[in-house]
Amino acid sequence: MKRALLAVAITVVTAASAFAASGKANTGCGLGTVLWKGRADSSVFSQALQATTNQTFGTQTFGITSGTLECGTPGKVVQNERLNHFVRANMDNLARDIAQGRGESLDAFAELLQVPADKRPGFYAALQSNFASVFTSENVVVAEVIDNAVALAN
């Protein structure tokens, strides 16, 4: 069950992040689409005080959601919601960490996937050696790689 859920989650993540920019504020799709949200970054004044977020706390569930949370019970669904959002927003840093075999984004990713600490080195190594098949349009491979790693971890 856990494996199936993960596979679904990862497929959703990578499919949603088929390298295309989305119009959503604060979320990027694909590799590194954090945009300036129309801020005049050339103006020195815009650096003076970060006038940023258009998201106020609440209606958009903190900006964690890429859609609406249709479930009343936090838990797995929220977990996956977080995973989706995290991977989309950190796609390029995650890719870099995976290629280098370590990094903060990778640690957070493993934690969201609930990979136990003692299994992480193997998980990271598997991801690193399968980089080319992870970061292609072959989304299924991502699911399989992670699924296999999680299977190894259990």
Partner: protein, 650 residues
């Protein structure tokens, strides 16, 4: 649009909502609240609670004043929150007692339900009242707050961290930095916690409009909560600002109380002022909500300071005993510099070339270099590709292609053996000198002795110790320098710098920033009649700077100079010139600078030259010794000067 006089301040709205509509809405909300207030007045249990609250003068309790952001002024109370939706009593902004009674009544109201009910809207107030008055939950109407519960489950508040993104190295305008809070949960990774941010809500892209409105409260500030990784990306990866984190010694229940209070501030607007009622100042309320006995904001009310700087708030929070340690999160540009510094020059060059044309990555991987060096070249190349994208030097499809090309070649080489990506922790912002400076000293000008006194409210001069500040940058506000010449018994204003900003950004293979300066104020120099005259000067310039050994920098600039004075034949002259200099730091506490400039002025044609050798010895965080020898030539008259100053920072 007709000009409307509103009894409350107009809230700036990006949607362009007509103020009248807002006003109507406010009226409806207030009426609804009022109706709710009247609804439960005949409940005997509620009447008893209201009596007890009145007897105990609950509205004078510190916790209540904190939750409503009341600012005490003698016996008067006024809330700093400008949004009427924050109050349940119509006069709540200025009447803590009425607001408390209205809040108590609203808890028993059956007007609204679910997330809109005051119990769900103001959970921190409700919790505090329930605790203080030992309210029996059985008497309250049953209530579910799904949105609040969901938010609390997602944030899962356990700990809090003060986050301080430092100034942008080449953007002194960001010198104020920013502060936000991070709310830690049971996740181990910091990236997975939430950030609490207070920021003005603006769509203005015109810098002048932005600054003007920001200074005069034309924007509304809002609190928001968002994933911390988004903020990390914004500061570290997009703006290339280092981030400092200060874990706070707040207990989980205190942090939970704080989050409940943030919930109360959802979508509530306060007028945002860049200098005082800004991000830093407003976060202090949140910490007070966590622990009401803290008195943080008062520090700023009591000293009538013109601005509240993030570094100041860090100090205030530190003095309250909330900070025990700190962490450092280097910006991507900082990491790139570090990685580059660890590679031999040819490997560094190879990394740069690979980032610019990623098809070279294969050749790097297949080269005869040691494997760790190959890894590090590709690591650096990958980060530099990201940097170029953040600077918009690459379009997105191009970025993805190049980035993946480098990473695909990097991954088969296995994990790093070294910690090249780990940046040594620099001195933290709060370890630097204090921003104010007062100086006393003396010297000789052209064989005439004088005594000099100076005062500078803020912030950092090129010659001040760089520890804790962006190196090679200067931001001075409202510095006044006066002199007394005993021989002539004359006291005179020597200089007044309204603003004086210099940003020297060293260039290297990877980064090519422009150095620049802008300043304006009153200056003194010899005029045609031979006397040192005061005149108004506006000066700006741009150029380049390069690193020199000893943490130093060498620079050159082209400048424009506008001088205005009644003593000038045409009242004004415009000049053009060049300046150059070198600043080195032979030891941590010692700085030496040699600078020269030459100008030629049109209209009443004349030339101006200046040479200066300056030294500064930092004796401690609060004490410095400055020694300056200079020579200037203006209207064919030369003046040499020597000056020794003792500076105290405050």
């Amino acid at each position: 649009m007709p000009m409307l006089y509103c009894p409350f301040r107009k809230s700036y709205d990006a949607m362009g909502v007509h103020p009248l509509l807002i006003w109507l809405l406010v009226l409806i909300v207030n009426l609804a609240a009022f109706a709710g207030v009247c609804a439960g007045a005949d409940d005997p249990y509620l009447a008893e609670l209201l009596n007890r609250a009145a007897e105990r003068q609950l509205h004078r309790e510190r916790a209540w004043e904190v939750l409503l952001h009341y600012r005490p002024r003698g016996d008067e109370r006024e809330s700093l929150v400008d949004d009427p939706r924050f109050f349940l009593a119509p006069e709540g902004k200025t009447d803590p007692e009425a607001e408390l009674s209205a809040t108590l009544r609203s808890l028993f109201s059956s007007e609204a339900s679910g997330d809109e009910h005051p119990r769900c809207r103001f959970p921190a107030r409700a919790a505090w009242l329930a605790e203080e008055l030992a309210i029996d939950a059985g008497h309250l109407p049953p209530m579910a707050c799904p949105q609040l519960d969901e938010a609390l489950a997602a944030v899962n508040p356990r700990s809090a961290v003060l986050v301080f993104p430092a100034a942008h190295p080449n953007g002194p305008a960001s010198m104020f930095g920013h502060t936000l809070l991070r709310v830690g949960s049971t996740y181990r990774s910091d990236l997975l916690s939430y950030a609490v941010n207070y920021a003005s809500h603006t769509t203005d892209t015109n810098g002048i409009v932005y600054a003007f409105k920001g200074i005069f409260g034309g924007y509304s500030g809002y609190y928001s909560i968002l994933p911390y990784y988004e903020k990390v990306r914004e500061y570290n990866d997009l703006e290339h600002r280092d981030v400092w984190e200060y874990p706070l010694t707040l207990a989980p229940d205190e942090v939970r109380r704080m989050v409940l209070h943030i919930w109360e501030l959802r979508g509530i607007a306060s007028d945002y002022y860049f200098f005082d009622e800004n991000c830093s100042f407003n976060l202090l309320f949140l910490l007070e909500a966590a622990r009401p006995e803290l008195r943080l904001a008062e520090e700023f009310w009591d000293r009538s300071s013109f601005w509240v700087m993030p570094a100041d708030t860090v100090a205030v929070i530190g003095r309250a005993g909330l900070i025990e340690k700190q962490a450092y999160r280097p910006a991507q540009a900082t990491r790139i510099l570090r990685r580059a510094s660890l590679l031999p020059p040819d490997a560094r060059h190879e990394a740069l070339q690979t980032a610019l044309s990623p098809q070279r990555a294969q050749a790097v991987a297949a080269s005869s270099r040691p494997v760790e060096e190959r890894r590090q070249i590709l690591n650096l190349a990958a980060e530099y590709v990201q940097y170029r994208y953040s600077r918009k030097e690459l379009e997105q499809p191009e970025f993805q292609r190049q980035f993946l090309e480098v990473l695909k070649v990097r991954s088969p080489l296995g994990p790093d053996e070294s910690d090249a990506g780990e940046v040594p922790v620099p001195p933290a912002p709060e370890t630097g000198h204090l921003p104010g400076r007062i100086g006393l000293g003396g010297g000789y000008r052209h064989d005439t002795p004088f005594v000099e006194a100076s005062i500078r409210p803020a912030y950092h001069a090129l010659m001040d110790a760089d520890e804790g500040y962006s190196p090679h940058s200067q931001i001075i506000f409202a510095e006044a320098v006066g002199r007394y010449y005993p021989e002539r018994h004359s006291i005179r204003l020597q200089r007044f710098s309204a603003v004086d900003i210099v940003s020297l950004a060293p260039r290297d293979e990877f980064f090519k920033p422009i150095s620049w300066k802008v300043n304006g104020g009153l200056f003194r120099r010899p005029f045609a009649d031979g006397a040192d005259r005061l005149f108004l000067r506006l000066n700006t310039g741009g150029g380049m700077a390069w690193p020199v050994p000893g943490n130093g920098v060498a620079y050159g600039m082209a400048e424009l100079d506008l001088n205005l004075s009644d003593r000038l034949r045409d009242k004004a002259v415009l000049g053009a010139g060049v300046s150059a200099g070198v600043i080195v730091s032979p030891a941590d506490c010692w700085k030496v600078a040699l600078s020269g400039s030459a100008f030629a002025y049109g209209l009443q044609y004349h030339e101006y030259y200046r040479l200066a050798l300056e030294q500064n010895l930092a004796l401690s965080r609060t004490l410095g010794l400055g020694l300056t020898a200079s020579w200037e030539r203006s209207f064919d008259r030369s003046r040499a000067e020597a000056l020794l100053m003792v500076n105290r920072y405050f």
